[in-house]
Amino acid sequence: MKYLYYPGCSLKGSGRSYEESLLASFKKLGVEMHELPDWNCCGATAYMAVDEMKAFALAARNLALAERYGDGEPVTLVAPCNACYLALMKVQKYMAEYDEVGRTISDALASADLSYRGGVRVRQSLDVLLNDVGLDLLAEKINHPLGQWKVACYYGCQAVRPFAPFDDEYNPMSMDHLMRSIGAEPVDWPLKARCCGGTLTGTIPTVGLRLSYIILREAIDRGANVVATACPLCQFNLECYQSQMGREYGEDLDMPIVYYSQLLGQALGIDDRSLGLQRHFVPLTAAAAVG
């Protein structure tokens, strides 16, 4: 199995351990990931608010590069970051759905000798793990099952909304299946895909913190001792603002917030450092289910 890989800016910054753990795990599973050469920012959420067309153009350039890379062969571009995943999918859909978007973006790409004809399949890494690698192969490769973890699988918004090509938008299960396959126990909880507050934690903190706290609180109430995320922004909010939430709501919060790929990596026998676990504030060893 061979894929083109789009890391996005966060996976080179605050979400570095997502990239580290994901690439290490894929390697162990025999899946080749080739980073898209010369990729640029996907345009993400904030940019949509300043200039939608430019946001589309940013995302489209990556698709154009990926298509060119494929050289006529079908290309799958794996985007592990939810925001990137959505931005890339959205421009693809809108270019097809709205003439105006299609025309403007095609013209813009042409001005730089690029073109995009819709030949790239954008996929989330969870999708690849579940549906291409498959649970059977995973079961074979797991040598350190993680029975100690009760995982709140936290998908975030944009992996399943508004497009849900690989999982259910109300009760997504792909990460749950993945966690079960590595021996961990996913908890049943209703906030799997509820918003963490996104960038509001920074811009309107009272509101943003509250949204993140709701997620964390429910995970604790449902008996989880670790939260696994699929999105660098969710991970950042739930972890980096955890002490602030604790102060705000008068609680002792000590919940490890990791990427699903880090737990997968552990189960595959990869050492903690290669999975970037030292980069986290709440150590995974804490195993602290706070009442």
Partner: protein
């Protein structure tokens, strides 16, 4: 908060009426011409968006009301509303809407309109964040989260920057943040060319 017995002097009696000439009756039409917002006029005011929205409880007008007001031409009220800035793009409303209105896209469109008309609530850092983000991308082709956030706070709330210094340093110590920017491997010129081309094409939606 304890309930206070109302006093006559506290009863703010105001005259509330909207005359047609105070409205911008074409506003709804303008908004529906934007890709993604075309179904706005189909809204049946059921409120599904407002109840599924995790942020509506903080909004001055619920998303449903924003749609009604947009349609009716309450342009000033809509564009100066906090609602559009509270939208965190979680897309719950878009997925749940029984009329398939892409409400998240509508919110984006309204944000852009508010920036274009320079009427966003003063002190709100979101437009500044969006602009800084843009600047970063234009410079290096990629976003530097740490730098962007630091700049936003510097420009909007310098005290906030100080308060979060600790977090920044801790992130840096763990290699999760850097003041040095990630760059595209190739030249940013190609990207700028593409963005310029979008800028020059008259789409009618890009305040640019």
């Amino acid at each position: 908060m304890a309930q206070r017995t109302p006093r006559m002097s506290n009863l703010h009696i105001t005259r509330r009426i909207k005359y047609q000439n105070e409205l911008d009756l074409g506003f709804g039409k303008v908004m529906t011409s934007i890709p993604g917002a075309e179904d706005l006029l189909r809204c049946i005011q059921c409120g599904t968006c407002s109840s599924t929205c995790p942020l509506s409880i903080y909004m001055d007008h619920t998303p449903r009301k924003i749609i009604a007001m947009t349609r009716a031409g309450f342009k000033d009220e809509v564009l100066s509303s906090a609602t559009i800035w509270l939208c965190a793009s979680c897309y719950s409303c878009t997925v749940d809407c029984p009329k398939k209105i892409k409400i998240t896209d509508v919110m984006y469109a309204l944000k852009r309109k508010a920036i274009e008309e320079k009427v966003w609530p003063r002190g709100l850092p979101i437009p500044v964040l969006a602009k800084e983000f843009f600047a970063s991308v234009l410079r290096t082709g990629r976003a530097n989260e740490g730098r962007t956030v630091a700049k936003v706070w510097l420009k909007t709330r310098p005290l906030k920057l100080l308060a979060n210094m600790g977090l920044g340093l801790r992130l840096m110590a763990r290699g999760r943040m850097s003041m040095k920017s990630e760059r595209m491997t190739g030249s940013v010129d190609q990207l700028r060319k593409i963005l310029d081309s979008v800028h020059n094409s008259d789409t009618g939606h890009s305040p640019g």
